[in-house]
C-alpha cells in the first residue's frame, strides 16, 4: 500500500469538541484469519488518533433500527488509511455484518477517536511490554505499527496468545516487524494446538512464561494488556504478584467474567 497521505494531526484527541458521526468508505478488506478481517477505510477529514484508541461504529437498517459497537483502531496514526480489525462473533449483531456483508465501496458510519488512557505515544521511551489474547492484539498492533513508522527503537516485546496457529492475527506482518532488528521481539503462545515444528509456547500464559518475556521490574516497563476478561485478569494478576507496579499496567478487557479465552 502506498504511503502517500498521512492521516491528520496527532494532538486532536485532547480537544473537547464533540465527536461527530462521519462516514468512511471501505477501500480494502484483508482476511487475517478465518474469523477475523481488517477493514481499511478512507475517512475524509479524519481528525487523527493515538495508537490504542477506538471508534464507535453505527449500523442503520432501512426501518431506522440502529446498532452501535466499539472497535479498536488497528492502524497507526501515521498510516494512510484507518483500519479496524474485527473478529466475527457468531452470535453477534454487528461483527457478522462487518466481516461478511460489508463490501468495498460501502460506506460505514463511525465516530472517534475515543479513549485517552490505553494509548502509547511514540515519544514514550520506557521499554514496552505488550500482552495480547486473540483479537486483543488489535490496539497493540496500532502501537507496534506506530513504533515502526516513527522509527522508535525503544525495546519492545509482544507476547501474543492465540488458540491455534490458524488463529494468529497479523502473523506475517508480526514476523516482519519482529525481524526488522529495531528492538522488537515477538513471542507467540498457542493454547489449543501443538503443531509440529512450532517454536513458540504451547500453553496458557503463566509466571514462568512472563519471567522469560517481561522486562525486569527495575527497567520500569510500560505494560499494555488486551484480550478477553479472564485472559487479562490472569496476565495482570501474575505481573502484580511478580512485583510490577500496578499503575504501570494498563488493561483493556472484552467480554464477561468466566468466559473462555
Amino acid at each position: 500500500m502506498a504511503r502517500a497521505a498521512v492521516l491528520g494531526r496527532l494532538e486532536i484527541p485532547t480537544s473537547r469538541g464533540p465527536l461527530r458521526w462521519q462516514f468512511g468508505t471501505l477501500a480494502e478488506v484483508v482476511r487475517e484469519t478465518p474469523r477475523v478481517s481488517s477493514l481499511y477505510l478512507d475517512v475524509p477529514d479524519w481528525q487523527g488518533h493515538l495508537a490504542g484508541q477506538h471508534v464507535d461504529v453505527r449500523l442503520t437498517a432501512d426501518d431506522g433500527y440502529q446498532a452501535e459497537r466499539s472497535y479498536s483502531i488497528a492502524s497507526a496514526p501515521d498510516d494512510p488509511r484507518l483500519a479496524l480489525t474485527v473478529e466475527r462473533l457468531d452470535d453477534g449483531e454487528v461483527s457478522p455484518y462487518l466481516v461478511g456483508e460489508l463490501r468495498v465501496g460501502d460506506r460505514l458510519e463511525l465516530r472517534g477517536p475515543i479513549g485517552g488512557f490505553f494509548v502509547w505515544r511514540g515519544e514514550d521511551d520506557r521499554p514496552l511490554l505488550l500482552i495480547a489474547g486473540g483479537s486483543g492484539v488489535v490496539p497493540l498492533m496500532a502501537m507496534l505499527r506506530h513504533r515502526a513508522n516513527v522509527e522508535s527503537t525503544v525495546p519492545a516485546r509482544l507476547l501474543f496468545s492465540s488458540r491455534t496457529q490458524a488463529d494468529v492475527i497479523y502473523r506475517d506482518e508480526l514476523s516482519r516487524l519482529g525481524a526488522a532488528g529495531d528492538g522488537l521481539t515477538v513471542f507467540h503462545a498457542l493454547t489449543r494446538e501443538k503443531p509440529a515444528g512450532w517454536s513458540g509456547y504451547t500453553r496458557r500464559i503463566d509466571e514462568a512464561m512472563l519471567k522469560e518475556v517481561a522486562w525486569p521490574i527495575q527497567e520500569s516497563p510500560a505494560v499494555f494488556i488486551c484480550g478477553p476478561t479472564p485472559f487479562v485478569e490472569a496476565a495482570s494478576q501474575l505481573l502484580v504478584a511478580m512485583g510490577y507496579e500496578p499503575r504501570s499496567i494498563k488493561t483493556e478487557r472484552f467480554g464477561a467474567t468466566g468466559g473462555t479465552a
Binding site: 488512557f117 485478569e233 500496578p246 488493561t251
Partner: protein, 201 residues
C-alpha cells in the same frame, strides 16, 4: 431518507421493551468487565469508608461498622458506556442518604475514590435522594473482585463507570473536578438516556 447500511437488518430483541434500553445500547445477559488496570485485592480488615472534604467532621466507618448500617436491596438496570445494558440487576448496600445523614455541607460536587487510584466525579444531587448506594452484594452474593468487590459504588441512572469499583470514600467539593475517565475523553455527567458518552455529547 437518511443513511442506510446496505444489507444490515440487525437482531431485533422484541422481548425487551425499548423503553428500558437507552439509545445506542444493547442488552446482554452475561456480565462484562471494564477496568483500566489490574484488579486490586481489598482486605476488609483494613477497609474503611470515608466522607471527607467540605464537611466539618469527616465521617469514617470500618467494615464492621459499615456492614451494620441499615441496608437496601435494589433491583435496577445498568448501562455501560461500552454499549451493553444489563437488566434487573440486584444489589445490596447502604444508601448514600443514610451515609449523609446529619451532614451539613456547602458542596455541590463530589469525587468518589477507590483503591487503585480510580476516581469519578458526581454532582451531589446525582447521589442523594435515593439514587446511589455503596453496595457489597450482587445477586445475593459478595461482589466478585473483578466486578468491584468487596464494596463498590452504585449509581445506576448514570453510565456504569460512575459506579466506582473498590470504593473507599466520597470527597465533598464546592467545584467539579473531572475524575479518571472524565479526564480521558468521557462525559462529565454520563446520562445514558441523553447518550452522554464522550466530551461534547
Amino acid at each position: 431518507m437518511g443513511f442506510v447500511s446496505r444489507g444490515f437488518r440487525g437482531k431485533r430483541r422484541d422481548n425487551v421493551s425499548s423503553s428500558r434500553v437507552p439509545p445506542g445500547q444493547y442488552v446482554v445477559t452475561d456480565f462484562p468487565v471494564l477496568s483500566a488496570g489490574p484488579t486490586p485485592h481489598v482486605n476488609l480488615d483494613q477497609w474503611t469508608f470515608s466522607i471527607e472534604g467540605e464537611i466539618d467532621e469527616p465521617k469514617k466507618w470500618t467494615w464492621k461498622e459499615f456492614s451494620a448500617l441499615p441496608a437496601d436491596t435494589v433491583t435496577k438496570d445498568i448501562h455501560c458506556v461500552t454499549k451493553w445494558t444489563k437488566l434487573d440487576t440486584t444489589w445490596k448496600g447502604v444508601s448514600v442518604d443514610t451515609l449523609m445523614e446529619g451532614v451539613d455541607t456547602a458542596a455541590d460536587f463530589t469525587t468518589v475514590y477507590s483503591d487503585g487510584g480510580y476516581t469519578t466525579n458526581l454532582a451531589l444531587d446525582d447521589i442523594t435522594a435515593n439514587k446511589a448506594w455503596v453496595v457489597y452484594e450482587f445477586d445475593g452474593q459478595p461482589i466478585e473482585p473483578q466486578h468491584g468487590g468487596p464494596v463498590r459504588f452504585f449509581v445506576p441512572h448514570l453510565y456504569f463507570w460512575k459506579s466506582a469499583k473498590w470504593v473507599r470514600g466520597i470527597r465533598l467539593q464546592k467545584e467539579e473536578h473531572p475524575g479518571f475517565w472524565e479526564s480521558n475523553g468521557y462525559h462529565i455527567r454520563g446520562d445514558p438516556w441523553r447518550e452522554q458518552r464522550y466530551w461534547g455529547d
